[in-house]
Structures are given as C-alpha cells and as structure tokens.
Point group: D2
Chain length 281, copies 4
C-alpha cells in the first residue's frame, strides 16, 4: 500500500515517510495528535500534522537537550521540563540518579496519555518517582517560580500554536527568575536553513540574549527535522558550556548513542552563515 506522511519544509520542499498504519488520531483541546507506524522510522508522533519525533532518531534530539547541560553543571538536582509530553527528555534525565526532582509542565494531557500508550520508547520513565507532571500552561507555571531550578529544558513545538508562548521574552525572563545562580536554560531553537525556520531562530536568540548574560547556540544532525540541521539554545547566568564542561561526566557511565564530550565541544562550533544569522538577529 502506498500511504505517505509528508511534511512541507517550505512550500517548495517536502519530506515524506511511508506509513504502514495510522495508529491513532485524536483532537485534543489544543491540537491534533497522530501516531503512525512507519516503514523504516518506527513509530512517529505528529502534532497538528508536524512531525515531532520518530523512534529512529528521537535519541539525537533528546540526548542533545539533556546531556549538554548535565555535563556542564554536575550539581543539577532540580529540573524543570516544559513541554516534552513524549517523555524523551525525562527518560534521559532519569539516567542521573543524583537528580532529585523533575517537574514537567505539559499543557496537553492527551499528548502524555497517547505517548504512554503508544510511544513507550520515550514515555518509559514518566512514572519515575522523581517526576511530577503538571498539566498546565508553561508560561503561567514558570511565572510563580523563583530560584528553584538548576536546569530548565524547553522542549516546545514550533513558535506558533500551543508552543507560541514559550518563545516570548516574558517566558525567558520568567525562566531566568526561576533558575538558581548556576542555572541553565536549554531550548529547542529551530533551524538555520529554510527561511521561516531561520527567522524563528533569530527571533528566539534575540530574546534570550536580551535576558541571559550567556546565550549560545549549538547544533545537531536530526535527519527527520527540516533540513536535518537543528539548533538548541544554551543560556545561563554564567556557566560556559565549553569552559565549564565537567570532564568527569564520562565517569558517570551514562550510555548515549549520539552525545559524547568531544561532540559536546564540537557542536558549539557553528557554520559562518549560522553565526551571521545569529549576529544579525
């Protein structure tokens, strides 16, 4: 059977994955949620028709969001995760037994329910005792937090629809307040290649830079995201992702398939054209 899921990167470029079965399709209060069985990419989650993850390469995104900050500050005990209903970031975080608390704020409970049921690969650690899930608006949740977290990971959708608030200056400001002195903010930072993504990347960077004294961008190869060139933001009150890299991270024995500490240093080295875009943000 010839059934394809297609994502338009622009109106002139599209990527398509062959589908075996459409496992479930639901309309939540916030968005449409679809899970597919694909050929070659395992299960796939799409929100409002945008591909969120494939089982084949979600490890790249989730490892790069999690281990980069964890390897910079070895004293991260209290973590807030915003979005991330699929559980992938949580799964990576739970590999650190010295983390005490993981608050997860996901606006859409149905995403979590669907992932628990159909995406065990990512959702497998949502029941870890350290995890507290709040089905709330991320922006509102963070507003009331002061000096509470060592790490905030913003695993949002794109800056339109339900994820829009998580790209505002107000939100970044609230994250700053919610972080302790050695706090780190990580966010998915769109992509530099296609014009619309590049614009979103520039806007996000400009806002974060205006709030955090340190605001860098790092990259990873995520083949099923637009252009395969995806960016993340690393912002902190002072910690430097490379200068402060904890060389002891390797001794923790954490298994990763993408991340390693050499790549940690390498991934902050951006192409000139990306640096240019960020400078002109």
């Amino acid at each position: 059977m010839d059934l394809w899921f297609t994502e338009y990167y622009t109106k002139n470029a599209r990527f398509s994955i062959k589908i075996d079965k459409h496992i479930i399709s639901l309309e939540s209060e916030f968005q449409r949620i679809d899970v597919f069985d694909s050929y070659g990419f395992g299960r796939i989650l799409a929100l409002d028709g945008y591909l969120m993850l494939t089982e084949k390469d979600e490890f790249i995104y989730h490892e790069m969001m999690t281990h980069i900050p964890m390897a910079v500050n070895p004293n991260i005990h209290d973590v807030l995760v915003v979005g991330a209903g699929d559980g992938g970031v949580i799964r990576e975080l739970t590999k650190y037994n010295y983390i005490n608390k993981i608050d997860m704020v996901e606006i859409d409970k149905l995403v979590v329910d669907v992932c628990r049921k159909y995406l065990a690969q990512t959702a497998c650690k949502l029941d870890d005792l350290r995890v507290h899930i709040y089905y709330e608006d991320g922006l509102k949740f963070v507003r009331s937090k002061y000096n509470e977290y060592d790490l905030i990971i913003v695993d949002s959708t794109d800056p339109f629809g339900p994820g829009e608030d998580l790209f505002t200056k107000e939100f970044y400001g609230n994250c700053y307040k919610a972080l302790k002195t050695e706090g780190i903010l990580i966010n998915q930072h769109e992509s530099p290649y296609y014009p619309n993504d590049a614009l979103a990347m520039q806007k996000a960077h400009k806002k974060i830079k205006s709030v955090f004294p340190k605001a860098l961008v790092y990259q990873a190869h995520i083949p099923t995201y637009p252009s395969g060139h995806w960016l993340f933001g690393f912002a902190s009150k002072g910690l430097d992702p490379i200068g402060d890299l904890n060389t002891g991270w390797k001794t923790l024995g954490i298994k990763t398939r993408y991340y390693n500490t050499d790549l940690h240093k390498g991934c902050f080295a951006l192409p000139n054209y990306v640096k240019e875009l960020l400078k002109n943000a």
Copy 2:
C-alpha cells in the same frame, strides 16, 4: 504548476523539491545529466536522477572538501581533483593563490560542458590557468602518478555507476602512491543514517583505513543530501587534521560561508553511533 523532483533516500523516505523548469536533459556516454530551475534552491544538477548539488547549499559541500585539508597543510601546491565536474571544488581551490597546479580528472566531459553553460556558480573557475582538465577515468589516471600531489580530493558520485571505481581499495592505494609525504586524501564519504548509505560509508572507511596510516571522518550539515548528515574522509600519511591545524589559516583572508577553524575542530567530533559504525566497518 505542480512539478516535483524527488529523491528516494530509501524506498520509505523521499525528499522532493518543487521545479520551475527543466533546463536541460542529456544522456552522456556515462550517465543522464539533468539541470533544473527549482523554487527555493536555485539551479539543481542531477546525475542519473540523483541530486548532485543545489545552488542554495553547494557551498557547504565544496567548502568542507577543500578548506579542511588546506588549513591543515599550508604547503599544498599540487592538487588532484577526481570527479567534481561541476567545478565547485575547483572554485574553492582557486581561492589559494599559492596553489600552483590543479589537475582535474573527470570521466564525463558532458558534465563539465553542461555545468559551464548552466551552473556558472560552481563552474566559474574552470578556466583558471592553473587548472588542467583530463577527461579520463580517475582510477586509470591515478595509477601512473607517484609522489606528485600534496592533496587529492575525490568528489565522486555514489559507489555505483560511474563513481564505483573511486571506492575501491585499488584506487585508494594508487592515491597513496600519488601523494607526497605530507599528502592528504579527501573523499566524499556518504552518510551514516540510512542503512544503504551507512553500509557504503563503512565499506569506504574500511578500505581507506587499510591503506592510509591516518584515516578519519568528519561531518557537515548538507540539507539536500540524504539525511542532511554528510561525511567526508580525511586520510593522510601522517598529518593530523586537528593536531596539525594551521592556526594561520585565518590570516589568508579566504571568505567562506560554512567553514571556519572552530568548526574545523568540531566537525571531527562524531556522534557515538557513527563512531560505532566506523569502528565496526
């Protein structure tokens, strides 16, 4: 009008670009050659239906093939380029005024003719006086060369069809002989993500490693190549791409849009899963 050029990455994944016009389509002795005007990616060159380059992102591939070795050894004067009929590597090489000679061996004259006429963006320096074009089989050409080149760049198509010979152990052995003591071999090295590409990458790496004392792999983000995660091989008789990086490269004033010396160091830091594949090659 709705006209799309599609490349199947596997039989279950495909990437499509919207086409405005099909500029030319020719059948040479070796392959079918097509040039398109696309929307959003400028002109596109396809050989035997495989996308070779788009004007939008060819700079990434060509810069990464050229400036990595040039920044390691500041005494590169004699260069051999195998394949590369589009001229992109030549364009980058001609930025170095201390290069004396660039031999280019391209089996298919028609590719060069088509690129001269329709792809000036890459072919613009093919008439540089240092460039000598040989329309011959690359494998045979290199066989008769001893201790002649400081750098060989193998800008081949994939390891089937006309490019097949350029992925053989015999060819790599001949390259070794053709290189001087400080010689470097660069080759396009396929991709680690999709199974078939990963296999080709492993095979190439295994062969190069058996010939060259130093054989590393580096990566770049090339959005219009399968998975966007593309690899290159750096092999040498001794020079190390990072240990021997010439910090003076920046003073040459060479303009690049992707390459820079930080990224030079970063691009050799590979993801664990890629390292694993190479180790098991």
Copy 3:
C-alpha cells in the same frame, strides 16, 4: 496534516486521495484490509493496497453491476453474488422485493466483518433475510451448482491475488452450468485504457466469449478507478441486454443515482478502440 493514499495505475501514473484518518488496518488470511476516512471521498476501502470503493462513487459501480441485468430479465428470483464483501451489490439487489434468494460467496470473512462495522453505506443490507453468506472459495462454490440461479454477479478484485480464480475459463464454465436458461452473468471487467488493465480485460473477454453464446461489454464512468473508464461483462445464454430490455423497469420505482434505462442502452456503445481491443482479445 498531509497524508495521502496513492494508487499507481501504472508505474508512470498515479492517483492520490488525501486521508484524514486510517480507521483500521488488518491482515486476513487472504489479504490486507484497510479502511480510511478521506477528505472529499468519504470512507475508503482498500484491499492489498488497491482502492476498492469510496463512499463518494461506489453507487456507480454497484448500480451498474445490478440494475443492468435486473432490467433485462424481470423474472430474476435467485441470485448468486461472488465476492462483493462490501455489500454494495447486495444493497442494490435488495431493492427488488421479488428476488427470493441471494447467495453471497465471499472468500474472506474479515472483509465482511470490517465492512459491517465501518462501511454501513454498502453493508447495510447484509442482514436482509434473503441473503445467505457463504465464506468460501467462489470457484469451488459454483462448481457444485446446476441450473440454480437467474443471475450471477461476479464482483471480484483484480485478476491476481485472491480474485485470480474468478477470471478463469473453468470458473466461467461453472457459472454457465449454475445458471438457468434465462441466466445472466455479470462481472467486473477491468478497463481498456492502461496497458495492464486492457490486457486483463481482453483475457477475461476471450474466456467468457468461449463459454457464453452472448458476451457483451458495457462501460461506466467511475472516477476513482484507474482511468475512470470501467467495464463490465454481460454474458447470457441468449438474452440480449438491449433487445430484451424490459421497458417496465421504470415502473418498479427503484431509486438510482447513476443508472437509468436510456443509459442502459447507451452504455453498451463502446469506443472504437475498445471494440478493437475486444475483437482482438
């Protein structure tokens, strides 16, 4: 979301329908069964990836299979339907209150179960008391029947896979024996336009002609079948579809959306190129 079901008419022509949801996907002993919710065509049934019906235009196929023979012989009381698990032909037959018995032989019970649950539009009359469903091989079922039916309707899939037997000379011969003197055999007869379909049409016609004294072909516009030009076979022991058309059919008050008695006469008038193909079968 961009999800499309595509059917390749040949390897160079394809028709695609945008899908909202994949309602169910099952693998029976005989074939893969899929039901989709489409945009613009209502529910869709596919067997082994081939589109069997859409709610938007199944009335055309089912009316043309049923009312053509019913309007020729007003004394049809005993009917055999082979295949037709979706129930569309049954629905049309049950509009005739003077039909006494409808035997339906469908090899794949799962098709019937799925249609009962998800395709009420066609399956709505499967519980009519006159309907007797046999989950058996059509070829075997007919073998043991003599002089039993006034009408046999062969609503098969294409002549490969589970439907293959229903395109054999043996099967047509058995149908002949199973029919009474005034009996009529109707079968879906593929299409004259695309080469493979045309070949199947020719083969079927040749075989039927060798068994039945009267073997004609008629056509209908079915937009979601390959080429939109679909054919049906009308074979009998003597009755002529036009000469014997019962002008009283209109007085039965049967509601149809495609069929009428003018079109009845018109649909046997085939294009020259189709007549040529049939003559050369």
Copy 4:
C-alpha cells in the same frame, strides 16, 4: 529519475504523470505554456499548469468535439473554432473534404507556435488551405459575425483565466447570431464529478439553455481529465443530435478511434446524478 507532473483535481485529489523531459516552458502574454515528454502518455501540453492534452488520449476529446456535430448535419461547410490552439479539432475537421472554410480564433499565438513545433500530432493540419487563423479574442471575433457559420466549436480552457469570456452569456448569444439556421454550437462543458467542475458545468449549461432552443450535454471517457468523466455541450437552433443523426456518416469513411454512430447515440444518455445537476443548474 523521479519527476512528476501533478494536477490537483480538488485540494484533496490529485493525478500525477511521470515526466521524462520538460521540453519547453514559456510565458506568453496570456499564460504559461509547458510541454513535457512523459512516460506512458507521450507529449503533454499544460497551460498555466493545467493539463490540456496528452498524446495518448487527445483523440477522444477532439473526436467527440468534432464528429458529433458533423454527423448530425451533413451540410456543414463553414466552421468556426474558438480556442483550440493545439490544432486537434482542426485535424479532425480537415477529414471532411466538403468543409470549405475553417476559421480558427485563438487568443494566444504562442500556444499555436509551440504546438506547431512540439505537438505535430495535433497541429499537423493547421496549414490546410481551408484554415484561417485569427490571433484574437474569441468573444470580440464572434461579436461581428452574423449568420455565417454552420458550426462553432468552442475548445476553451477552464472558465477562469484566458478562457473566462468563453463561458459568458454574451458569448453564447453572439454564437447564436453567428450561426446559420441549422447551426450547431459545441463547447467543452467541464465535468460533473468534482464540486468545482460540477458548478462550472451547471453555470455553462444554464447560460447556453437561456440562449439556444436546444441545449443538450453529452459525455466521454477522457482518462487524463479530472474524474475521467468529461462533458460537452451540444446546442442548436433546432437540430437534434440523435433525431437528426445522419445515418450516412459511416459512408464517409472517416477513421476514428473513439467515435462511432452507436456511441453517438449512447453518449447523450447521462447518469441520473448528472441529469439532476443539469436540471438544477
């Protein structure tokens, strides 16, 4: 190579043809003109991205526009063809040696030039001495004509863009005046299946009916037009397409691949749902 031309029938249904080469692409004063070499359909002409004809099935359209009226009135000597720049209708008309004059009004000279050069299959008779080509607006041309033609064939594009005027009541009124007493107007009449086409069909029929005492619609199977179910209008000052069918047509010895006089009678027998749409126009 994987290059496909796609036509969207609605936003939820599309038909695609595999392309070998894009022969030419030009922008005239009126529209974009593209010719392709396809696989399986021969050459293809597209105007503004809409498929106008394929060499594989253009005979159906052109025969049905031409021989239907020619077989009704054996005294057609003066013909006006509006649109039809590809020459297909002209080719069919020139098969009648008793036609004296064929005026052809095509607004876009470039279409004719392109077809002469790249579509000899249809354009082959444009130089017949009886043919007079006027590169003018069809609506204006007809305005000044009184009692001059026995037959007007309107071979227009769809009722938007350059073809828009040829679907107005004013145009039909002018055609009426331009026709002699036994005159016939034939026009391409869109399709009943997809909602937008059906609406266009209804609008055209309503207007023609308000101008001509006799206004019927007939159908043909044209696989590469939306739905494959295409309609034509037959309007006259009194001649009836079936009642006045000239049984002597066969003796003319005109070779056709689709048309024949049985099909002539059959093609006016429309499905109930089409009749309904026309009645409610």
